[in-house]
Each structure stands twice: as C-alpha cells, then as structure tokens.
Amino acid sequence: MQSNAAMEYDYSIVKLYMWTTVIFGIVGMLIGVIIASQLAWPQLNYMMGEYGTFSRLRPIHTNVVVYGFMISGIFVGFYYSAQRVLKVSMGESKFLMTLGYLQFFLYLIAASGMVISEAMGITTSKEYAQMEWPLDILIVVIWVIWGVIMFGLIGMRREKALYISMWYYVATFLGVAMLYLFNNMEVPTQLLSGGLGAWYHSVSMYAGTNDAMVQWWWGHNAVAFVFTVPIIALIYYFLPKESGQAVYSYKLSLLSFWGLMFIYLWAGGHHLLWSTVPDWVQTMASVFSVILILPSWGSAINMLLTMKGEWNQLTENPLIKFMVLASTFYMLSTLEGPIQAVKSVNAIAHFTDWIPGHVHDGTLGWVSFMVFATLMHSAPRVFKREIYSKSLLEAQFWIQTVGVVLYFTSMWIAGITQGMMWRAVDEYGNLMYSFIDTVNALHPYWAIRAVGGTLYFIGLLMFAYNFFMTATAGRKLETEPQFRSPMA
C-alpha cells in the first residue's frame, strides 16, 4: 500500500523519551559543571560528604549524560523517524505499543538504579560499564525489547528498502548488544562462596591485560555505537527533512556505512597504547584509527554537501545551524582522535586533559547538538505546535558554541602542558617538576573549562524552557509542516 496521503504516526513513546532527554540532560550536565568546578576549586568536594567527592561523581556524570541524556535522545529520534522511513505506525500494533511502554518503564528503573548504586559506590569500576550484574541483566532486557520493536516495525514496513538511518539503527542495536554482553561477563560472588557478602557484587571473567582489552574494545565502541552510529542515523534523517534537500550521495553513504562498520572495532586498542597489551595490537589500533578518518569524514562531507546551493538556510534557520555545526564538530573530533592515536602523540596526550577535551568536542559539539536538533525538529510534528521561540534557539546556539570552544581549547592547552611537564628534564637529565607542580599549573585552564561548561549548561536550560513552552504554549498548527520547522 503506497499512498501519498500523510500517515498518522503514534508519538506516545516519543513524548516520554523527550522528557527524559531534557531531565537527564539537566541532571547529567549539572553534575558535569560541578565536577569541572571541583578541579578548579577543590573545596567544592565537601558539599555532600562521601557522596560529593569528584571521584564518586565523575562516573555518575558520564553515565547520566550517556545513558540518560544521549540514549533518551536517540530513542526520541528512533521512535520518531523509524515509523516515518518505514511508513508504518507504532499504533498499528498493540503488541509493539505495549513493549514500547514496558521498555520506557524498565529504562526508568535501570537509570535510577544506575544513579543510586553509583552514588553508593556500588560499581564494577569499568568505564561506561560501571553497573553491577542485576542492572546489567535489566539493560539486556531493555535492549532486547528495543530490538523486538525495531525488527517488528521492519517486519510491518510498507517501504521495502531500508533508509540509511535504519542501517545505522540496526547497527547500533547489534553493536551495543555484542559489546555489552562480552564486556559485562562477570561472576556474582555469592554464587560460588556459599552466599557470602554483598548480593550485588561480582568479579570480572577477565583479568588484568585481558580485562583491559575487552573493556576498551567496549569503551571505545560505546563511543562508536552510542556517540556516533545512532547520531549519524539522526543526521541522515533530520538534516534532509529540515532543509528539504536530498542526501548528496547514495554511494558515499554506502561507503561510509560499511567502512565505519568494518574499521571502527579495530581502534579500541588506541586507549591502551604503551600499556602491556601486545605491541602488534597497539600498532593495528593506531593504523585503523587513522583509516577511520575516511568513513567518518565520508558521512560528514555527505551531510555538508547535502546543503549545497542552500547555504542561505544556515543564516535563516537555527536548527540548520545546529546540524551543520554538529557535522563540522564530527569532522574535527574524528580528525583529532586519529591524531591522538598516533603512538608518539599518544605518549604525551594519554592520561592528560586532552583526552576529556577530545571527548567533549565530540559529545557537546556533535552528539548534543544533534539531540537538540532532533527534539526541536520533532516537537512541532509531535505536539502540533510551533516552536516557542526562534531567538531563544539562536541565543542557545551561540552561547553553547562559545562554551564548547572554551572547553576544548582550554583542555588542549592543559593536556599538552601537563604532558610536556611530566617528561621535562633539567640539564642533568633529572625530572624538572614534581607531580603536584604539574597539577597546580592547570588551575587557569580548569577555571576556563568550568566557565565553558557553565555556558553550555545555561544554553541547555534555555533549551529546556523553550522545549517546555513549545510543548505547552506554542501556537497551534493546523497542518504538519513539510520541511522547515515553524518557529515564532
């Protein structure tokens, strides 16, 4: 059944995830601002006793922004766009709708469990995989439900060929499933000890160097399959939709997709350069990290060229601004990553602030900008209301852009400064600086970073207000806008 009449889609699940995106965004980034400030002004560590130290808060920050804010944003994008590119409504299947609600409900439980357990110090300690086994099992269930919904919708589809965004959603599902399962292989300690100790505690199935290999195979590819692959899915749908332009090149999308799938997984070892993992693995990781520029830039260039002949939209439409700058930050970030993966550069960069600096130009500049654009493009279609304020959106864009720039430039300088100080020697070949010298040298950069983060957070609050007002008080729309989102 192919008809040109506009279909009605069911957005009840989309709306739920929209609100969690906003709420987790505020919580996660607020903690981010706090921990950034703690480095510059350490007395801020004492606000909440043992629960308020930098060390306890840092994993809560990373987990809430990744698994709260980003995953919610990705689910918004998925539940909104998958229905449309497959030409099937969630509402057509009671079963899938029920699963959708169930998934959201379990997701709330898992997310709150994650925050509470990490605040209490219940953690496996592995980065981006801190959750203990009971939460791991819950997450597997949530993920499987998502897979059933995805393939359920695909099974019911009216559009025979899968659109590019769907390729990336399928890859996200499979990639995270594989990596998460292998990295979280653990033995609950009550099982073999005759019920001794804490019930939630477990030990990793892998030890030492092997554990590190598996962890960064996961850690790096959590970046791949949460910060990159689904975000590319979003931009392939939302940029053409908002701009009314066709994707520049189908062949380039093909090349970038399969290239990314093959190359990304090799690069995990670049987190372990100069460590005790086998040297050949390190070299392979370095080489593949450099090759990774090709598919990454392929997608980004494909998106930028999609705007060909329509660059005037960049000045007129803040949503286009967000998405074009997102692609640009994606290019910056995917050039910076390979540079850091070169062994001689890594010798200086590793263990320094340049690494979190790199993470944040990707996550703030690319991922979050795409999440904002996704929510704002969907809002008028979901709530059937005009976007509340264009000028607020414009102001948010500029404040956050300045915030990101302050963030990563200060962290670059901080990282390279500290890396050089660690290795500096005097004329007799003795180390020139004690460790604490290299920490105290960073104070000004940490202060600038905290300011940058605060600006970004202010932008987020503006977004939250704008979004809330759009959903509740925006001018009513009679018909669904085709391309450019209407805004007052």
């Binding site: 399928v170 300690t189 290999m213 660690w422």
Partner: protein, 222 residues
C-alpha cells in the same frame, strides 16, 4: 548486493554483525591465554588487600589515579620499573585508569608508608601542599566489607583457579575462621604502622575501618 541487502533486513543484520565482530575476534583472541599468565612469584591478594581494593573501587580512586607505568624514562624515573602484563594477572577488574589527575599508583608501596597514607587520606594538603585531592575522612569511620572480599577470593579460586590456600573455602564458618586467623591480625599490623590510636582500637574491637584495608592494598602495590 547492497541494494539487495537493504531490502532483506535479516541478511543485512547478519552482514553488519559479521563485519563488526571480525576485529574483536582477530585482536583479542590470539594473545588471550598468554596475557592471563602471572609473572613468577606473584601472590594472590590477601582478603584484607581485596577489601582495600574494594574501597579503592567504591571511592573510585581510578577517576584520578592510573596504575600503568609506561616504558618511558620520564615515567620510570618518577614511578619505578615499568609495568608488566603478568603483574596484573589477579586483577579483576583491571584498574589502569584513564586519567592522571593525581600520580600513578602502580608502585606506590615502594615510596610511601602507612602513616604517610594515614595523614594523606585524612588531609591531603598536610603532606602534599597544594594538593587538590579531597580528604577521605569517611574511610576512617566506614567499616570495610571483608565478607564480600572473602567471597571474591573464594570465587576467583573456584572459578579461575587463583592459587589460594586450603583455608579459603565457601561458607560462613570458613570466613569467620579466616577473619580471626589472618584478616584481623593483618589489619592490626597496618593500623599500628599507620600510628593512629583510634584505628588501632577499632581493629582490636574486631572492626576494620575502610582506610586500613585501603592502605593494606596500597602497600601491596610494588
């Protein structure tokens, strides 16, 4: 072929899976058993050290401290012998960390003493002027979870063959016995070296404060 895959989601998914699974299999599997080998003479962690490792994980020390000395002169001058794979054979999970906001700790046991740690954890600035590390005073009052640490020792012995002696057995009775015979005496030794009367009194009363277990673990890092 790609056009065909786009219309056949099942085979598309299979194709994607094979493409992404390839690299992991090729890079992780070949050295897996070799990388699991301990260096000669490596002893498993004692129950008290495991409890301290638990504290290290609970307060997430790895947010700021690495345990990986890279093979550069600047690092070996600062921290000692570069790290070897076999030294980590009993580390579940590994605790290499990814950022050095504070110094590396892989051989901290070589150049710090228990009473230095006692002062440092209570008030870092008292021994390192300008330090930005927060004080961890709650570790002086919280009691370490030695039962879970013991459960961990039993688990790795039974599941992975970590060479513990016959005294590490499942069950509450075996745990109580180990606690009296080894864990508490170990803790008393550390508390005494920490020169803190309050900590000594607590250990003598059968309770091991978190910081005592933590220092036992840090002393082991050599």
């Amino acid at each position: 072929m790609f056009h065909w895959l786009e219309k056949n989601p099942f085979f598309f998914a299979v194709g994607v899976f094979l493409t992404i699974a390839f690299a992991g299999a090729v890079t992780i599997l070949p050295n897996f058993s070799k990388s699991a080998q301990p260096i000669k003479g490596l002893k498993p962690y004692t129950v008290l050290q495991l409890a301290g490792r638990g504290v290290y994980i609970k307060d997430n020390c790895l947010s700021c401290h690495s345990q990986m000395i890279r093979p550069f002169k600047a690092e070996t001058d600062r921290y000692g012998q570069y790290s070897l794979s076999g030294e980590y054979a009993y580390d579940r999970p590994f605790l290499w960390g990814s950022r050095r906001i504070g110094p590396d700790l892989h051989r901290v046991g070589n150049y710090r003493t228990p009473d230095w740690h006692a002062n440092h954890m209570w008030n870092p600035k008292s021994v390192v002027p300008g330090s930005i590390m927060p004080a961890y005073k709650h570790q002086f009052t919280n009691i370490a979870d030695t039962e879970t640490a013991y459960a961990e020792a039993v688990t790795v012995k039974r599941a992975f063959g970590v060479p513990y002696g016959d005294d590490i057995q499942p069950g509450k009775a075996a745990y109580e016995k180990e606690l009296k015979a080894k864990v508490l005496p170990d803790a008393l030794k550390i508390a005494t070296q920490m020169k803190n009367k309050d900590l000594i009194a607590k250990v003598k009363a059968g309770k091991i404060p978190e910081v005592v277990a933590l220092v036992a673990y840090l002393e082991r890092l050599k």
